[in-house]
Symmetry: C2
Subunit: 368 residues, 2 copies
C-alpha cells in the first residue's frame, strides 16, 4: 500500500473488475451483460469493461457522454431509466441509442416525439422481496398495465421491444427473480395474442457483492433465473444489468484516522472519509452494510469500535462495532474493502471534506 | 419567477436571511450568534451575515477559507467540530482562530501540539430527546468526563474555556435544552472547586425552520434556555449556533417536471432534482421532512402525488402524498419552499444529474 498519496483514496483493481465480469459471463451463460455504470463510472473502469466486450446501461445523457468518451457505441447501450428528461432522449436518439425503458403513457409521448421509431421496454414492478438496499416501488407497473403500455407504444409508431424489472440492489435471495419472471411470462402471452413478440427480457441487477457476510453462489441465481426463463411462452434474448457485482469487490477505500475518542465506554475512530463524502450507502441502509476493514497497525490485540466520518454531522457514521487494531491513533490508516460501488458517486463535499480520489491500478501489491 | 434560467436552481432571498438573523438576535437576547455555515456556505450568504455582525462556526479548514474569503476574522470564529484533522488545527491556529471544541484526550494532544495555548470547550452529550433529524450519540461525554477533560486541558497548557452541546437539528421541543444545561451547571460547579471558571456556554443549534407544520415560537426556546442559564452557578457568556433557522426559509428550490407516471393507482411526479442531487435530508429523515410545495400550473383542482427525483435509484424520492395541481406534465415547474439549508451541500452528481445552481437575490418577485 502506497502511503505517500493523500487520503481518502479509492483504489480500483482493474484485474479484479475483469475477473468479476468474467465470472458473471461464465456463471450466467447466454445472458448479455450491460454494466450499470451509475455505481462507478470511472473512465478506466468503463474502458476496461468495454475492452472485454461488456455493454452498458445508462440513466442520463451525461452517462452516455462518458461512454462515448471511451469509445462505446450508443447503439449497443440501453437507456434503462424509465423517466427521462426530454432533452436526454433527444441527445441519446441523435447519438444512435435506440432502446429505451419506460413505464408510463407520458414517457411514450416523449419517446414518440424525441426518438421516433425507437424500441421500448416496459418496466414491471418487482414483487416486494426484501433486498439489502430496499426499493420503495418508485418504478414499474403490473402485467396488465405493462401489456397495455407496450400496445400503446405500437400505436405511437414505437417498437414494443421488451420487458425489464429490478429485484432490488444486493439481493441475497436468488428466488426473488422467480415471481417477476412469471409476470414477464404473463405479459408475453397477452402480447402474443395481439401478434406482438418481444426481443428482450431485462432481468436487471441486484446480484450481490460480498461484504462482511457470505452471499449465495452465482449458480443459485443462474438456476432461479433459468427456471423462470424456461417457463416463458417462447425463447427470448436475456439481458442483465449488474453494477455492484462487477466493481464493489475491486475497490479498497484508503482512509486516514483523524482522531479517536472514548464516549460512554466505547471507542470511536474518526476517519477522513464518512457517509457524506463517500459512504452514503451506510446512511441509506441504516449502517447495515458491513464492509470488511483492516488497518495499518495490524495489532494482534483487537478492539471493538465505532467507525465514523470527519464531519460534525452525527449521521456521518460508517459502521458500529467494528473490530480493528487496539490503540489506533491519528495518522494510522484504515482500509475499507468491497468499496468499489456507490462510494465515489453519491459523495458530496459537505463540511469541506472532499470525496475520495479514484485511482485505478493493476498492481495487486497496492491492495495488501 | 424567472423561467428562462435552467433548473434545478436554488434561489436564496438574502433579505429573508437577514430577517431570520435579526429575529434570532431579538428573540434570544444576550446570546452571540455563530452561524453554522455547513448548512449553506454560499459566499453571498456568508457576506450578508458578516455584514450584519453575525459570527460563524466551522467544521473544517476549507470552511475557514470560505469565511476569510469574505473578510471574516478567524479570531471571531469557533471551530466546533470536536474531532479535527491535525492539519486543520494547524491551519486555523496559524490564521488566528483560537477557540476549539473537543471531547477526547487525543484531541487535546493534537490541540496542545498544533495550537499551543488555545482555548478549548468540551462537547457534552445531549440527552436523547427526539429531534426532527436525530443524532446517534457520535459526539459528547458526560459531565464527569467533561470536567476531567477540561482539567486535562489545563495540564497541557490549554485554556479551559467552555462547554458546548447540541440538542439535535430541527428540535421541536424547547425543553430539550433544560437537561443539557443542568449538566453544564454540574461541570461548572466541579470546575469552580478547582479554581477554573468558564467563559462560554455554547448551547448549539437545533432551532427549527418552518416546513410543512407549525413550530413553537422562538420565545419558548428563549424561556427554556434562560431558565436553564439562570440556574448556572455563575453568569457566563452564551453562544448559539443556528444554521437551518437562519437560511432554510430563505431558500426556494425551482425544479422542472421531467415526467409523470401512474403506478398502482398513484401519480408520481418526477423532477430534475431529488434526494441525491439536493434533497438528501429526505432520505436521512425517512421522507418525513415536509417541504411546502407549489407549482407553475396553479390549478384549482388538486391531486395527491408522490414527488421523486430524476435518477433511476428507487430511494431518490422527495416526499410521498403531496398535493399539487392536477394534470402536471413534463415541462411544468415545481417550487419547493424552506429549501435553503442542506440542499446545496449534501448534493452529488449521481447518475449524471448535477446539484442545483445557487443564486442569491433581493428581488422578492422572483419568489412568487
Amino acid at each position: 500500500m502506497d502511503h505517500s498519496r493523500p487520503t481518502p483514496e479509492l483504489l480500483i483493481d482493474l484485474d479484479r473488475v475483469a475477473a468479476e465480469y468474467h465470472a458473471l459471463v461464465a456463471g450466467l451463460p447466454g445472458m448479455t451483460v450491460h454494466y450499470a455504470m451509475k455505481c462507478n463510472p470511472h473512465p478506466e473502469i468503463l474502458a476496461e469493461l468495454h475492452g472485454l466486450g461488456c455493454r452498458f446501461e445508462i440513466a442520463s445523457a451525461a452517462e452516455l457522454d462518458l461512454l462515448t468518451g471511451v469509445g462505446v457505441d450508443p447503439a449497443e447501450t440501453l437507456f434503462s431509466n424509465p423517466v427521462k428528461p426530454l432533452a436526454h432522449i433527444e441527445h441519446a436518439h441523435a447519438s444512435g441509442l435506440w432502446r429505451f425503458a419506460f413505464d408510463s403513457e407520458e414517457e411514450l409521448d416523449k419517446l414518440a416525439a424525441a426518438a421516433p421509431g425507437a424500441a421500448v421496454y416496459v418496466r414491471l414492478a418487482a414483487h416486494q422481496i426484501r433486498s439489502g438496499v430496499p426499493s420503495e416501488g418508485k418504478f414499474g407497473v403490473d402485467p396488465a398495465a405493462a401489456t397495455a403500455l407496450l400496445l400503446a407504444a405500437r400505436d405511437r409508431g414505437l417498437r414494443p421491444f421488451g420487458v425489464a424489472f429490478h429485484v432490488g440492489s444486493q439481493m441475497l435471495l436468488p428466488q426473488a427473480w422467480r415471481a417477476p419472471l412469471r409476470a414477464v411470462g404473463q405479459v408475453m402471452e397477452k402480447l402474443a395474442a395481439e401478434q406482438v413478440l418481444l426481443d428482450m427480457v431485462d432481468v436487471g441487477g441486484g446480484f450481490p457483492a460480498r461484504y462482511g457476510r457470505a452471499v449465495p453462489p452465482l449458480s443459485e441465481y443462474a438456476a432461479a433465473i433459468e427456471t423462470g426463463l424456461a417457463a416463458l411462452p417462447y425463447p427470448v434474448p436475456v439481458v442483465i444489468e449488474p453494477g455492484r457485482a462487477v466493481v464493489a469487490a475491486a475497490g479498497t477505500l484508503r482512509a486516514t484516522v483523524i482522531g479517536t475518542a472514548v464516549r460512554h465506554g466505547r471507542r470511536w475512530v474518526h476517519l477522513d472519509v464518512g457517509a457524506f463524502n463517500g459512504l452514503m450507502e451506510c446512511l441509506e441502509t441504516g449502517n447495515e452494510l458491513r464492509f470488511p476493514v483492516t488497518d495499518s497497525r495490524r495489532a494482534a490485540t483487537r478492539e471493538r469500535c465505532h467507525l465514523t466520518g470527519p464531519t460534525c454531522d452525527s449521521q456521518d457514521t460508517i459502521m458500529f462495532d467494528v473490530e480493528l487494531s487496539a490503540g489506533l491513533r491519528a495518522g494510522d490508516e484504515v482500509y475499507i474493502g468491497s468499496a468499489g460501488s456507490y462510494t465515489s458517486v453519491y459523495a458530496s463535499s459537505f463540511n469541506g471534506f472532499d470525496p475520495p480520489h479514484v485511482r485505478c491500478t493493476r498492481d495487486p501489491g497496492r491492495f495488501r
